[in-house]
């Protein structure tokens, strides 16, 4: 019983620098960083100190709230640095690879023959558990919860995003193993949400043991939260676990090979990348190594996509969840009378106040300028145009700003994640930091309702 969902609200922002569907030479790097800040609300507790030797899959830190959730090393070598910020908050754990592939071994085997407890334990110990996130609150799932369903998105609709089908192609068996493992974790359904706009890769369309739903339409139709909303929405008190298809690959490899294989294929994209392509590398890899000689000066490095990604320095590192590395021009120049409509600066606008609405297929080279200053909410109707859920986004955001938890609950706070508001933030005339507002509100509601 599959569902077809057609999303009409939203927009695909077309940027210059789309990657060719080709692999560049694989990049191996010995400089790996895991950032606890990639995981919202996480309180990390270190288990290693500088100088410790680690193997692939050895724990680096765990979640203070739930000490079963381990975060493990993607590479074998030595812990060389633990970078702390204000209030001694841990920002980075750096591991220097020693070239020797020494692996911690985990349970290997067909998930169909394993029990739920064995699967949970294997995933928690090996460090693949953090890939399983939950709605509400968009945080790492609690393994003790009983999820109503598990949703896996096989589409990424964000600007310059990787084609999951291209990466998964030929790895159908591994992917299926991952799905089988996840299927054991819920008494409800496992939903695999594939694209309805084009032919999905056979690894997706041929998947078994899951309900396959077809999703079509512009961004944010690839956001798993939007899919959940249309297929089987989250109500108060319910929990849904969500993953992306590429995360499932890592879980599949765990059960196939009995080790934590953190290697992943990512896309290098953006107008500042000389030859945008796909590349095989590893979680937490140094992007300086990945982009060596393949990038122009003056770019902003983003681990992730330009709407939801994290700003990193030129020698920064790929995030835990990121399969995309974007380099776009850095802004910072004042624009003389830059507000003039229709003439002068004419970047892509959803508002029809620049002529960009006449050429929807043109690719733009947008920089990181705010293009204005923050103001109070004035315009209406903008958020609604790019927010494909039966939720009033502006009213929800306003209730978040005034921290009214009852109102947030009523307006649907349990169904949203910051990424769902990324396009709202993009189009906002008043330049409000919508995703930040949403993240803080989710943390608040989570704390208050715990």
């Amino acid at each position: 019983m599959s569902k077809d969902v057609k999303i009409s609200k939203g927009v695909n922002i077309k940027l210059k620098g789309t990657a060719e569907k080709l692999y560049a030479n694989p990049v191996s790097t010995s400089d790996i960083v895991i950032r606890p800040t990639d995981f919202p609300t996480l309180m990390p507790k270190l288990v290693v100190k500088v100088g410790d030797k680690v193997k692939v899959g050895s724990p680096l830190f765990y979640n203070k709230e739930n000490d079963k959730v381990l975060f493990t090393s993607p590479i074998g070598g030595e812990v060389t640095e633990i970078k702390r910020g204000e209030k001694r908050r841990i920002l980075e754990v750096r591991v220097k690879g020693d070239g020797a592939d020494s692996y911690e071994t985990f349970k290997q085997g067909d998930p169909n023959t394993l029990s739920k407890e064995e699967i949970l334990e294997n995933m928690l110990k090996s460090g693949v558990w953090p890939f399983v996130r939950q709605r509400p609150f968009d945080v790492i799932a609690n393994p003790a919860d009983e999820p109503k369903a598990i949703h896996i998105t096989a589409i990424d609709t964000a600007p310059l995003s990787p084609d999951y089908g291209f990466i998964v192609h030929g790895q159908g068996a591994v992917f299926q193993t991952g799905l089988d493992a996840l299927a054991k974790l819920t008494s409800g359904k496992v939903h695999l949400n594939i694209t309805g706009d084009s032919n999905a890769d056979e690894a997706f369309s041929g998947a078994k043991n899951v309900q396959i739903n077809k999703i079509s339409g512009p961004h944010p139709s690839g956001n798993v939260g939007v899919q959940v909303h249309h297929i089987d929405p989250v109500n108060k008190g319910e929990v849904v676990w969500v993953l992306r298809a590429l995360d499932v690959l890592t879980i599949g490899k765990l059960f196939k090979e009995g080790k934590f294989d953190a290697s992943r294929s990512i896309v290098m994209a953006g107008s500042k990348v000389k030859s945008p392509k796909y590349v095989k590398t590893i979680m937490g890899a140094n992007v300086g190594d990945i982009l060596k000689d393949n990038v122009e000066e003056g770019g902003r490095y983003i681990s992730g996509n330009p709407l939801t990604g994290t700003k990193i320095p030129a020698n920064g590192h790929l995030g835990f969840y990121d399969y995309q590395l974007t380099v776009i021009p850095e802004g910072g120049e004042n624009r003389f009378m830059g507000w003039l409509p229709f003439i002068g600066f004419n970047g892509f606008s959803l508002s029809r106040t620049s002529f960009s609405f006449l050429s929807p297929n043109k690719e733009y080279d947008l920089d990181t300028n705010l293009n204005g200053e923050e103001r109070a909410f004035v315009m209406t109707g903008q958020y609604e145009k790019v927010f494909p859920m039966d939720i009033y986004p502006v009213h929800l955001v306003k209730s978040m700003m005034i921290k009214d938890i009852d109102l947030m609950e009523n307006l649907g706070v349990y169904e949203v994640a910051p990424e769902d508001f990324a396009l709202c933030e993009y189009s906002c005339t008043s330049k409000i930091e919508t995703q930040k507002v949403v993240r803080e509100a989710l943390d608040l509601v989570r704390k208050e309702t715990a």
């Binding site: 983003i302 990181t368 315009m379 009213h395």
Partner: protein, 396 residues
Amino acid sequence: MKALEEFMQKIKPKSDGKFPLAHAVWDGTYTFLFVPGHTNKTGVHIRDSVDLKRTMIIVVLALIPCLLFGMYNVGHQHFLAIGEAVSGESVCNLFWDKFFFGAMKVLPLIIISYGVGLGVEFVFAAINKHAIQEGFLVSGMLIPLIVPVDIPWAMLAVATLFAVVIGKEVFGGTGMNILNVALVTRAFLFFAYPTKMSGDKVWVNIDLAEGEKLVDGFSGATPLGNAVKGGVDVLNATHASLMESVIGFIPGSIGETSVIAIGLGALLLLITGIGSWRIMLSTFIGGYLMALVFNQVAGDNLYMAVPAIHQLMLGGFAFGAVFMATDPVTGAQTNKGQWAYGLLIGVMAILIRVANPAYPEGVMLAILLGNVFAPLIDHVVIRSNIKNRLKRVKTA
């Protein structure tokens, strides 16, 4: 441009210095000249090119046809009153004389409106230590367009001061006000100085130079004032037939008379998506339906019998529907709510205008009433969304 930028940076006053007002004025000017190159730090890395300045400037641009036409019409009406122009001849006679005369009458009103309003904004920006917000760019242009040409300057200044302080800043400034600022100005004038805002003597400038005199039979009444007396026949007899009302060479507030000029503005607002087509359409539908109802029950009442379409072309109805009802801050914000909000305004505008001829400008009162009701309308719409969500839990 580089030189200008360097010069501006050189004279930049300190924000925490002795003269916070100086900094507010400098900041307002500087950000008007140069969109600052702030970059995104968290969240999205790319941003839409639209900002509040661009949005507000588009509304001001949309008002330009009304302004230019209003200036010309002020001159035209004056020359008609003193007999130098005659109805029936080409309206283009004495073109530059009329336009120049009108411009001289209207420009001071614009200067007063912007001067007082922006002055208040700068003071509050300095007190609250925030950047100047652009809301008044539009209000400042609307205010001169919705007053009679002979409004005394001091009254306009007092009314603008009242509207910006009490109507907007006490609520927290741009984006926070409950009532449309320009309409608060007009309502203040209407109730505080009724003799200068209503009746037959204020709509046409009849300052006479030496040797000039009014033409015989000059009345100065607006078409609405005439329609009360004798319905559509009088309208047709006083050069305010349907066609003439649409074109707009009739007495009235400065910017409201020409439906064609308003239509040009509406077109820009609709193309850019800045004005809500739902509100515009539903306001006209509401007004049309109400006027039709009056037509049905008119009996001997000639005013009620004025054809529905003609009603909508008279007075401030079209101007209010296009430029005032669509104010995104004070109007309904939900799509469904906007339909109800527009219908309410349309119905109330014609109801007040026709049922109580003492208030020919029902549109102003109707929109203010709509502003007050907008949050309630949105509340009802959102309640139904909340109910649906709760129902989902129960049926699941």
